[in-house]
């Protein structure tokens, strides 16, 4: 059988399995809880693997290796952040969010915020930001999927997009969240097996680690530095810390990832899930970046660095391995995109339609509305992905950063700080998200040597503490629910937070003055040089 036929056959089996999962999932949808949260019946293994495969997008097969190919070992900092991200998320939020979301009766992560902070404004702002940036994120995934599928099946990009999206929308439409978790588990296993096999084979082909490093050193030794090629980030700890933190703690702000806590069968699932995440990460998260580094030796003249993994698969490992690796690339895209798709549809139906348009909608109607919204998002996504293909890396990092900076602090404060209220949450969401956007657009990283994510995180924490003083306290019901959800664990004492906010107000003013004055001197062509 020729290579392309084999790849098409493997891919057809893979896509047929997804449709079968959609059909099986549809048999278990009775009420809206089943469609949006799988009826809160997900076990630890499926929670862990779907949590990780959702977090790892097509970026891990395209943008990530390309980045390591361009900057060398500095790229691995992102992998290191990813390596601990899932563990951190489950350890910090897992049990508490599972308990609190059930106590509050929330079905989406945005509804959870409204009920926790007792404010419709939190839901409006949350739904708007999540809607826009989840959409940007999912459209970037559609583009990556279309490109991967076009290459895999050797067909036109538009046709590939239509096939890939058509299948994904169909099984998500049918089975909702439950099917998404099942498919994510299958995709996660395919991703880890294929990428780790490819890493080992690539390493053997290149002559082992020592040979790879010696060859790279002869090309340019700065590839082997922790500061990036040409030592471009030398001494910039703010950039380095941001590169690690964006994925290490960023998970806690992703609505499509943290919904896994809400759908667990029991809070006791967190314990085994952490071990599963840890083992899966060990074999997956570092491999794409290391393959990028190996690519410097094996494919020194590659025109498009995003094609490292597909090119290695095709040129070095023809046959079944190549077909599996390319299907795994699709799996990475699909496992993230389907979770975002179902989450986006859930937010639009539950947090917009039912909350503000038709509060009387019953459970059956909500399932229908959610399904229709999956189709609508799919159609809109097709046209956006077809006509405006931007670079994958830029879009994903931007969307991830804004979502993380918007939601991370409110979600963590929701379960650790019983006194956290609506003004604090709104300040943290708007301040964190906006800082990330401004920092990225105005390229403030070059002036301050601080990564946009790190800047957004600091502003979000400061805003949470400061704005929390400008609103009435939380109700006794919520305070008690938060304390019960903590399971007797640590919560922030009221006096500590109040004292910190008093100290932070003048500090925040000084930082603001510093940034404004530097922007002015920089725009005049004086003062600090932009790197």
């Amino acid at each position: 059988m020729s290579s392309i036929l084999l790849e098409r056959a493997v891919f057809c089996i893979y896509m047929s399995t997804l449709l079968l999962l959609g059909y099986l999932g549809s048999k278990r949808i009775n009420i809206v809880d089943d469609y949006m949260l799988g009826g809160r019946t997900i076990g630890p293994v499926f929670t862990a693997i779907s949590h990780q495969s959702t977090a790892m997008s097509g970026y891990m097969f395209m943008g990530g290796p390309a980045y390591a190919y361009q900057v060398g070992y500095f790229g691995l900092w992102y992998g290191i952040g990813d390596g601990g991200g899932g563990i951190f998320d489950l350890a910090v939020l897992g049990k508490r969010m599972r308990r609190l979301s059930e106590k509050l009766g929330a079905l989406t992560p945005i509804e959870y915020l409204e009920k926790r902070y007792e404010s419709p404004a939190v839901r409006v702002v949350g739904a708007a930001i999540a809607g826009i940036f989840l959409a940007a994120y999912v459209f970037a995934q559609f583009i990556a999927g279309g490109k991967a599928l076009a290459m895999l099946l050797d067909i036109n990009y538009g046709v590939a997009l239509l096939i890939g999206l058509g299948i994904m929308v169909t099984y998500t439409f049918l089975g909702g969240y439950l099917t998404v978790v099942w498919s994510d588990f299958m995709n996660g296993m395919l991703m880890v097996c294929s990428i780790f096999t490819m890493f080992i084979l690539g390493l053997i082909k290149a002559g082992g680690f020592t040979a790879v490093h010696h060859k790279i050193a002869s090309i340019d030794p700065s590839y082997l530095s922790i500061w990036g090629k040409d030592y471009q980030y030398l001494g910039q700890w703010g950039v380095l810390l941001g590169a690690v933190l964006i994925y290490f703690i960023g998970y806690t702000g992703m609505p499509h990832i943290i919904v896994r806590h809400m759908s667990m069968k029991s809070h006791k699932n967190v314990r085994p899930a952490i071990m599963w995440v840890s083992i899966w990460n060990l074999f997956f998260v570092y491999s794409p970046y290391l393959l990028g580094i190996i690519g410097i030796v094996l494919l020194p003249n590659l025109a498009d660095p995003e094609m490292i993994i597909p090119t290695l698969a095709h040129s070095l490992f023809p046959g079944v391995i190549a077909a599996l690796v390319l299907s795994a690339l699709m799996a990475a895209v699909i496992s993230t995109a389907d979770s975002q798709l179902v989450q986006l549809a859930s937010i639009l139906s539950r947090d917009v339609y039912q909350r503000f348009i038709n509060p009387q909608a019953n459970s059956k109607q909500m399932v229908i509305v959610s399904r229709l919204l999956v189709v609508v998002v799919g159609i809109v996504g097709f046209f956006i992905a077809y006509f405006q293909p931007p670079t994958i890396f830029g879009l994903v990092v931007f969307a991830w950063g804004v979502l993380g900076n918007t939601f991370m602090v409110p979600y963590i404060a929701a379960v650790y700080w019983p006194e956290a209220n609506k003004a604090g949450a709104l300040g943290a969401m708007i301040g964190g998200g906006l800082t990330n956007i401004i920092w990225t657009v105005l390229k403030l990283e070059a002036i301050t040597a601080v990564h946009p994510f790190f800047a957004g995180l600091i502003v979000s924490i400061v805003c949470m503490l400061i704005f929390n003083r400008f609103s009435a306290g939380v109700s006794d019901t919520v305070r008690t629910a938060v304390q019960e959800a903590s399971g007797g664990g640590f919560t922030i004492p009221p006096k500590l937070a109040a004292g910190m906010s008093k100290i932070l107000i003048p500090e925040a003013r000084e930082v603001g003055r510093f940034l404004i004055s530097n922007r002015r001197t920089n725009s005049d062509g004086l003062g600090i040089e932009v790197g």
Binding site: Y73, L76, I80, G83, G84, I87, A91, F209, T210, A211, V212, H213, H214, A217, L224, S225, I226, K268, V270, R271, P272, I274, M275, V277, S278, N281, L282, Y286, G487
Partner: protein, 44 residues
Amino acid sequence: MEIMGLPAKTFFAMFTWPLIYLAWSLYLYWKMGIEERSEGSENE
């Protein structure tokens, strides 16, 4: 100093993290086990 052709600084900065994460997850597994056992005995 080099380890497997990589500057020692880069080697330790990059490759100790997987071990740290593994140790951390084992610690959490052990700690949560103790918490769950005490939760269970309280319920009984």
